[in-house]
């Protein structure tokens, strides 16, 4: 995601991520599914870490952020939030 050399994501991490994109709210499921369809293949370690951090949010907060109603408190997550919003 940055100019630095990209670190590949392990197959196991990607698999875990795919399941963890199952959420309690349909809106989040749909956005995350679309994101994975588009970007899972090219996700690097940094991207994975950011996404995992975002997934720590509760479902309501996550949807507020994904729908653009609220900005994420943690500015580091900004680039990932943008990618998810565009997915």
């Amino acid at each position: 995601m940055s100019g630095r050399a990209r670190t590949r994501v392990s197959e196991a991490d990607l698999r875990r991520l795919r399941w963890r994109c199952r959420r309690g709210m349909l809106e989040n499921d749909l956005v995350l599914e679309r994101f994975l369809d588009r970007h899972a293949a090219t996700l690097d370690a940094e991207g994975l870490a950011l996404l995992n951090a975002l997934l720590e949010l509760g479902d309501n907060e996550l949807w507020d952020v994904l729908s653009g109603r609220r900005e994420c408190a943690d500015a580091r997550l900004g680039p990932m939030v943008r990618m998810l919003r565009e997915a």
Binding site: A12, R15, R16, R18, W19, R20, R22, R23, G24, M25, L26, E27, N28, D29, L30, V31, E33, G58, D59, N60, S67, G68, R69
Partner: protein, 595 residues
């Protein structure tokens, strides 16, 4: 092949509101409890509940559990069991106050009492009105607050959580007693037998059998599938609550406020068709009238899009200011999930499934019951169910808003108490039958060995389309009959699915294949039960059973005031009486359900 075995006093499958409330009761009694969940507990679907939890606290004005009971019986279109309804409404204030003491952050009045908001169908004076404020909420995050409060309490009580574990099958012995479940640990792909003296299901809803639903992806009715395969009937599966406007193809809810602000529904000819169905109220007619009109337009070929399977919700005439100011969030939802900007283009919408009234039959103590030896409600020893997967039956043919959360907590707690009693009375541990894991191993061997099978995704999509088209919000006899035929064909296709990815660790594709085994049971039960019930009642609305003298809204009490029981084997149907006798209150006799 033998599977590793782990032993517990009780296994709870599901960590939503119902599972967590039940588990808390067990853990606080000092029992060894395992709680399984496909996802982290606070990501259970309960988190989506916003409206609140109903209880006649009377904090905003006079209220009584009897009035709540009346509203629930009427809402259920008299299919609810009045003993269970009395129990839930009478216990509701107690469990809500208990939640408050657990630290649940309810909204409050100036005097410090829990604030309560109004909600459709909740009235004073045995339905006479006026409306009563009965819904206790925590901002618009009631479900979230409930889950977090109960999860924290469970952690304190040393409940043992098995997160990202999926229960696969129920273990029963030759006598019919339930002795636990088999379960898949997703992290490793290992399958275990969890040997328990009591097993409690709280696996939530199954909206994913429909193409359009507000339910999250995990709501695949696993508890119902497991119970059905083990020979337990499913009760009243024809009753599903729909919301008229979900985004076509996505299911996400568009609030009724959109029509309230002047949004209108159009068919493929651009006609504002509600003018024909409800000349006065038009697009503001009640939910069932609007849903029925939409379904009729689609059935008669006036739907929009390549498959003519949705109608359009137009709001551009409201202007961007009204849309932004009065309907916050709608523009984002339309853009994200329908790919249209409602400021310019109409939103494709269809009726969307919200809640499953039917489920695993239980009594109000959360004990699973099934017909045996002439008793329609014989207890299945060692087996309990609570929450949306259970059918006590509190909601009958139609659930009142805010009554699901009440049900989760009241029946969840009661089921926990029933387990405690059962374990005290039956101190020993029965041995597992030698073939305990057989059904699971056979299912996995079939799936892992399948060659030239069909994709899980394709079969699941076909299943959802079939349910939506043939067993939707407004039901036509010809479509239902054809639907039964198609679902039976799908049973064959589900048995031949193939997963290319054979790896063990977090294999989501494999999990989806196992979920499909549950979806098909729920779908069959729904279609077969709906085809057979030749009346309209609550959410089961048939085009050939309409309002006429002696049949209010198409309801036929002489022949159909009874619960459906569907069995997996041979799609057999049985029926049992509705309990019209409350525990202490006077019976509420059936009458026309009008609001």
């Amino acid at each position: 092949m033998a599977l590793p075995i782990r032993t517990f006093d009780a296994v709870v499958v599901g960590a939503g509101g119902a599972g967590l409330r039940a588990a808390l009761q067990l853990a606080e009694a000092g029992l060894r409890v395992a709680v399984l969940s496909k996802v982290f507990p606070t990501r259970s679907h309960t988190v989506a509940a916003q409206g609140g939890i109903g209880a006649a606290l009377g904090n905003m004005g006079e209220d009584s559990w009897l009035w709540h009971m009346y509203d629930t019986v009427k809402g259920s279109d008299w299919l609810g069991d009045q003993d269970a309804i009395e129990y839930v409404c009478r216990e509701a204030p107690r469990v809500v106050i208990e939640l408050e003491h657990f630290g649940m952050p309810f909204d409050r009045n100036d005097d410090g009492t829990v604030y309560q908001r109004p909600f459709g169908g909740h009235m004073q004076n045995m339905g006479a009105g006026p409306a009563v404020q009965r819904s206790c909420c925590a901002a618009d995050r009631t479900g979230h607050a409930l889950l977090h409060t109960l999860y924290q309490r469970n952690v304190r009580a040393n409940t043992q959580f098995f997160v990202e574990w999926m229960a696969l099958d129920l273990v029963r012995d030759a006598s019919g007693q339930v002795l636990g479940v088999t379960a898949l640990e997703m992290e490793t792909g290992e399958v275990y037998v969890l040997h328990a003296r009591a097993t409690l299901f709280a696996t939530g809803g199954a909206g994913r059998i429909f193409a359009s639903t507000t339910n999250a992806f995990i709501n695949t009715g696993d508890g119902l599938g497991m119970a059905a395969r083990a020979g337990i009937p499913l009760e009243d599966m024809e009753f599903w609550q729909f919301h008229p406007t979900g985004v076509a193809g996505a299911g996400v809810l568009i609030t009724e406020g959109v029509r309230g602000e002047g949004g209108m529904l159009l068919n493929s000819t651009g006609e504002r068709f509600m003018e024909r169905y409800a000349p006065n109220a038009k697009d503001l007619a009640s939910r069932d009238v609007v849903s029925r009109a939409m379904a009729t337009e689609i059935k008669e070929g006036r739907g929009c899009g390549p498959n003519r399977d949705y109608v359009l919700l137009k709001l551009d005439h409201l202007g961007p200011e009204v849309i932004e100011k009065r309907l916050p969030g709608i523009r984002e939802i339309a853009k994200k999930f329908a790919n249209v900007d409602p400021v310019r283009d109409p939103i494709p919408v269809v009726p969307t499934v919200h809640y499953m009234m039917g489920g695993i039959p239980t009594n109000y103590r959360g004990e699973v019951v099934a017909p045996r030896g002439g008793d329609p409600n014989a207890v299945v020893p060692g087996f309990y169910a609570a929450g949306e997967c259970g059918c006590a039956s509190v909601h009958g043919a139609n659930r009142l808003g805010t009554n699901s959360l009440t049900d989760l907590v009241v029946i969840g707690k009661a089921a926990g108490d029933s387990v405690i009693r059962f374990l005290a009375e039956n101190p020993g541990r029965k041995d597992l039958p030698a073939d305990a894991a057989e059904p699971t191993l056979a299912r996995l061997a079939r799936l892992d060995g399948q060659k030239n099978g069909e994709s899980v995704h394709a079969v699941a999509e076909e299943l959802r389309r079939t349910m939506q088209a043939h067993c939707g919000v407004f039901r036509f006899p010809d479509l239902l009959a054809e639907g039964v035929r198609r679902v039976r064909e799908l049973v064959q296709r589900v048995a031949r699915t193939e997963v290319k990815d054979k790896s063990r660790v977090f294999n989501t594709a494999r999990v989806e294949a196992l979920e499909l085994d549950n979806l098909i049971e729920v779908a069959r039960a729904t279609m077969v039960s709906a085809e057979a019930r030749k009346e309209s009642r609550g959410a089961h609305d048939r085009a050939d059973c309409h309002d006429r003298p002696g049949f209010p809204n198409g309801r036929d009490d002489a022949n159909w005031l009874k619960h459906t029981l569907w069995y997996h084997d041979g799609d057999r149907l049985d029926y049992k009486p509705v309990n019209l006798k409350p525990l202490t209150a006077e019976s509420i006799a059936p009458k026309a359900r009008t609001y």
